[in-house]
């Protein structure tokens, strides 16, 4: 057994070195090789590491970054899967990178972002101390199937985590329903008040009670199906959160200030990223901090100072004007970007890059579920919209039918031309790419305008 572990770890470390030498940041291949040699390697490597697992449809990366920042502030020894390598191969790679050749951990803690579908297997192997479930939205149906299937996967993952404290979003009727099905200690977190003054209208991904299928009633909504849900028939309702946002004090271009209540104690925190969904990411991280047992001050500092994951509100300087990349994966995410745009008061160029590789979702139908009609209402503030990516054709059609004047649309088949166009005008730019489009585009933008390699 020991020999197998050694061989697997050695082969993986070697592959990582080789890939780096070749200037490539492959994060999945090394883990795949290692697992081929030693199938239960992840279990062996993780058994002495205290892990926080972050899963759910949206907000995994940003939540993980905030949690990581809490470990930094606490000066705790930890590692994390930084580059969004959140399937079993990538997660195995990162455990190997942080182990000695004999498979002993070099760090005591780990913050692991985990794909929803992979979570059942990953949790079984690493037996986490804390699991954070951000939310469950409709996402890449070709890959994940229906939301009920995603929820089931997450539930199995938690059932495979017998010792974990589980942090659940109380405002998501799907996520919150996990609580009754597990014996674990649960900390609910949520937002007690509406977030946006004028949110886009959205199709709810969960209009009917998960228990009795009656339609929910809402005392308020934050966005999507999140909010104060209550089933008038069977009585299933939003559980009372122990960690919650009780008031939105101010929404600025680059941060949000909110009042929170943590186990009965009031405080004011500044979230170092704009956008309503980041309020959920922050308060979810706060719940994790409580679950781990950090001092509250540390979490508060971390939330006020963390920097975002690549492509998540990441900012580039184009030479006098800025570009922000906001990764989207599904209608809920795109609607949040549109809500963010609607809150801007300066003229902006909007860029959409739509790809259909498997990491993006091969079915691009979802763009019709996002409310791009909102863009037509903002037409004075958005003089031009650039469209690019493998499925730029579909994106352009979507925007045309959203009521955008065709003359405003510019289609770019090539990212270099797109980057030149962004640079050669003077307005701030908001870029909304899907996953693989973001990876390609940000690599080019990092070269042109400076930035980190994605595995750093």
């Amino acid at each position: 057994m020991k020999l197998k572990v050694f061989l697997a770890v050695f082969a993986c470390k070697l592959t990582i070195k080789l890939l780096r030498l070749l200037g490539r940041g492959g994060t999945a291949i090394p883990g795949k090789i290692a697992l081929r040699i030693c199938p239960d390697l992840l279990f062996q490597l993780a058994k002495d590491v205290k892990c926080v697992v972050v899963t759910g449809t949206n907000g995994k990366t940003t939540s993980s970054r905030i949690i990581e920042e809490i470990y930094v502030k606490a000066e705790a020894s930890y590692f994390a899967n930084r580059s969004g390598a959140n399937l079993i191969n990538g997660i195995t790679s990162i455990f190997i990178e942080n182990s000695t050749l004999t498979g002993k951990p070099k760090k005591e803690n780990a913050v692991i972002e985990c794909d929803e579908a992979a979570s059942k297997e990953v949790c079984r192997l690493i037996n986490p101390a804390v699991v954070l479930v951000t939310n469950v939205f409709r996402d890449q149906l070709d890959r994940y199937g229906e939301v009920s299937g995603t929820l089931e996967n997450i539930l199995i993952g938690i059932k495979n985590s017998p010792r974990a404290v589980v942090c659940l979003n109380s405002d998501c009727s799907l996520t919150a329903s996990i609580a009754e099905q597990i014996p674990n200690r649960v900390i609910f977190y949520g937002v007690d008040v509406p977030i946006y003054k004028n949110p886009v209208s959205e199709v709810s991904d969960a209009p009917h009670c998960i228990k009795c299928k009656h339609e929910y009633e809402y005392s308020y909504r934050t966005f999507g199906h999140l909010g104060g849900f209550c089933c008038p028939d069977c009585g299933y309702k939003r559980p009372e959160p122990q960690v919650s946002v009780t008031d939105i004090l101010s929404t600025e271009l680059s941060f949000t200030k909110v009042r929170v209540q943590v186990f009965g104690e009031d405080d004011v925190i500044t979230i170092n990223l704009p956008g309503g969904y980041n309020i959920y990411n922050a308060v979810g991280a706060l719940a994790v901090s409580e679950a781990v047992g950090f001092r509250r001050m540390l979490a508060k500092d971390a939330i006020a100072s963390f920097t975002c994951g690549f492509g998540r509100m990441e900012e580039f300087d184009l030479g006098g004007h800025s570009a922000r990349i906001i990764l989207v994966k599904n209608p809920a995410g795109a609607n949040q970007v549109l809500n963010y745009l609607a809150g801007l008061s300066a003229e902006t160029v909007f860029v959409c890059c739509l790809n259909d590789n498997s990491a993006d979702g091969k079915d691009v139908s979802w763009v019709w579920d996002a409310n791009f009609e909102k863009l037509a209402d903002m037409s004075e503030l958005i003089p031009e919209i650039y469209v690019s990516g493998i499925r730029s054709g579909d994106m352009a059609v979507r925007l045309k039918y959203a009521g955008i004047d065709e003359d405003k649309l510019r289609i770019f088949d090539d990212y270099d031309e797109l980057i030149d166009a962004m640079k050669n005008q003077s307005l701030p730019v908001i870029i909304m790419p899907t996953y693989t489009a973001m990876m390609d585009l940000r690599a080019k933008m990092s070269t042109a305008f400076g930035g980190k390699e994605f595995w750093e």
Binding site: K213, E215, V364, R391, G393, K400, E406
Partner: protein, 244 residues
């Protein structure tokens, strides 16, 4: 001029951007100066179906199927049957398409009875037919080539008197066996085509509109539109699939 569109069960049959078909129908009428009224008919809501010109039914999740069937068999099924007989225009996608048929046989052997407006039935399987696909419509259904995305585990078999909407050029279609895709019966158009179906396939979208318009205002002809972006998106996918 005005067309009345009824969106059936928008609260549960709203997967995969199918609502984009409604957006498309509305816009293509608006650009030609024709008014539209879209009535949403969720579960539990009732309306006199005879007053609508065009019906749209999308695809949904299995989770809500039970609630939907209860509502359907509470009387709406008979009204839908009457509207079909009356040659009203229906566009039915995926789950909505299956629902217009006679029944669905799950792969565990359970039978769900549907509306029975079209002589066709669907058999569940545990293999999903998924991916970009393309089919050529029969001449009476525009003769155009449709590109889209299919994602279904049900295999649909057409019965007597029901013609396929088209012939599969790439992908699976109705059942992955007989190269048929979708169904056409009177003015009912059924297909597995997500994407959504209409925006990238403007010729077919106009056939739907023209059929509904001719029924309401005989002799009216839809003027053409500039469909450059639509054709560009269509051709991109058609080329890609031809090369595969």
């Amino acid at each position: 001029m005005k067309l009345s569109i009824c969106h059936l069960y928008p609260d549960v049959l709203n997967l995969y951007g199918d609502t984009g078909n409604i957006i498309c129908l509305k816009k293509r009428l608006e650009w030609r100066g024709i008014d539209t009224e879209v009535t949403l008919l969720p579960i539990g809501a009732n309306a006199d179906l005879s007053r609508f010109d065009l019906f749209f039914i999308g695809g949904g999740q299995d989770f809500e199927q039970e609630v939907l069937l209860t509502d359907l068999h509470g009387g709406k099924d008979k009204e839908i049957l009457a509207a079909v007989e009356d040659e009203k225009v229906f566009l039915c996608i995926c789950g909505g398409y299956q629902m217009m048929g006679q029944y669905y046989l799950t792969h565990t052997g359970q039978q769900c009875d549907y509306i029975g407006a079209l002589k066709l039935h669907t058999v569940g399987s545990d293999v999903r037919m998924i991916g970009n696909y393309m089919f050529k419509c029969a001449e009476e259904s525009s003769g155009s080539t449709i590109v889209g995305f299919e994602n279904h585990s049900g295999r649909t078999y057409l019965g007597e008197g029901v013609s396929p909407l088209g012939t599969v050029l790439h992908g699976f279609g109705n059942n992955g066996e007989d190269h048929t895709e979708g169904a056409r019966f009177k003015n009912v158009f059924g297909a597995y085509c997500h994407g959504p179906m209409l925006p990238k396939n403007p010729e077919f979208a106009d056939l739907i509109l023209q059929t509904a318009l001719s029924r309401r205002y005989p002799g009216t002809v839809l003027p053409p539109l500039g469909d450059g972006l639509e054709i560009n998106a269509h051709d991109h996918m058609a080329d890609r699939m031809e090369k595969q």
